[in-house]
Amino acid sequence: MENFFARYKNPLVLMAVLFIQVIALATQVKRPEGGRGSGGGGTRLIRVWTITAFTPIEKLFISTGHFFRNSWHNYADLRGVRKQNEELQQEIERLRLEQVKLRQDADQARRLQALLEFRQKFVDKTVTAQVIATSGTEQSRVIIIDKGSRDGLKTDMAVITPDGIVGKVKDVFPLSSQVLLINDHDSGAGVILESSRLQGILKGTSLGELQVTDIMSDEKVEAGEHVITSGGDRIYPKGLSVGTVTSAGPDHDNDPFMSIKVKPSADLRRLEEVLVITKMAEETPALASGTNSLRAADILSQRLPSIPKVDPNALKTPGVAANPSPTPKPAGAAATPASTPKPAGAAATPSPTPKPGTEQKKVTAAGAGVKPATGATEGAVGKIPATTTKPAAGATAPPAQPSPTKAAKQAAKPAGSTGQSSTTGTAAAASPTPTPTPKPKAAAPKKTKSSTPTDASQPNATGTEPAATPTPSPEKPPR
């Protein structure tokens, strides 16, 4: 070091002298604000230099301080943040689960509320059940519910939802039951097309679809028509929603009947809560609904031919009622014993007949408007209830000629079904009750599935089952 100073003595002294003079100069010179010049209002150069020289040092200290402070705040002071984050994540997961649970509870509550409202409105006594299992195969469409014989369930009880029918109880166990869905190919139910009032049998297919059978191909069925239960199967209450017609066409395998596909109202694939009807109400939805009755009456009035008013005095004339109508009638209607111009509602009025009981049932069905005309009268008045139209099919057709009516076919197909045509024929033949004039269409006899002649002269040979209430036996023997 001593050598250094000795060697560079002169330059060092020069630098020292220059430095002193520069400092002296800086203490005198003022740097004007915002530019050069020797104005007197500026900052002294020594101050400018000092600040300029020390500012980086200050910045260095400040930056160092900030570095350590930020390091502390961003790292050392965040020791518990990871744990807190984990706790918050767990809290979020817990809240999500709780939210899902609450949402499920709310959905279930809404479904149960709908069930309760439906139950209070239509059905007398039901048991709410939860679907706990399914068959798991495509061959049999069966669900298992968590209610059994201890809850009062029995076989063949209807299982429904507010949307529509689901099926019927097939097997009952103490704590659970097996329900056969309506889309199982072993299942079936009596149904009515709501607007056309055509009756048929709802069956399931092997593909799990719903199909309405036993409707003649000459009937007009349009897609979108609502299908409801007829109640004739004595399982499902009358008037419950079944589904909507999706397509209708001739059934080539079962000519001359139609193949009508129905989309079920109830979502049979997503059943969760169902109602098991343990006791049928006296008043079914269809009956309870006044609009349906009015609609049936309207239909009847629309389909019946308009009858000119007849002088009441003429009706009072003795022998007029007993005599055939003086009005020229078609062939089918020529033998109609009564042609009194009465409206359809009047036609349903009970009249003294040899079988009043039978007639009473028919009248009730017709009044309800849910019993379309079947049997021999189908050709005469279309879907007019049998009791209102007694076209005396037997009277129009000779005994040797078969009566090819759809009703006869429908009556003949289900096992144990009654020969309602015979009933109606009997009633028509024996009853002098005036009936409206049948349409000319009635003269053309339809082809029937069975060749059983419908002779009006023959009494009811098969029983007294109401003609308008066919009781199909849709269910096949259990597999």
């Binding site: 002298v17 003079q21 520069v22 100069l25 005198q28 050069r36």
Partner: protein
Amino acid sequence: MNASVSLTSREEIEVHRFSWPVSLGIPVLAIFLQVFLRIGLLNLLDLPLLVTIFFAVARRRPIPGMLTGALIGTLQDAWTGHPIGLFGIAKTIVGYLGSSLGVKLDVDNPGSRFLMTFAFFLIHKFIYMAIDLLLVGGSEAINWAHTLISALANGLAAVVLFAVLDKFKQRS
């Protein structure tokens, strides 16, 4: 002018000394003449610079040379109203360079003195302008023609002045 200087042998270099009255009086006189006697020809000359060069070269020691320049420059600053250090820095550097140069060159030759003074004048002017621009904040533009003429005039004046001042030299 009885001392001959060799460029190769340091032992042969003569170092001169000056008496105190000469060391103080001549610079003060030069400053006084420069500042207070504003004669037309003297505007071209820089007498304090010439005195600084002379003493630095004659003494041949950098530290006394630079101190002489610093002292003369500071006095000039003080008397001319310039910020203290403006001329002082410039003449300090010139004194250092002159004393350093005097060790290596024959500075007793009139031609050398002319060239040396010419060069130091330009260096002095350059340093002065740099300090004025960078530190003081001046905006004076350099007049090269005037500067060159001044350099020539100072060079010629130095030949005469140094010959006169050689009378005050004392052999050490």
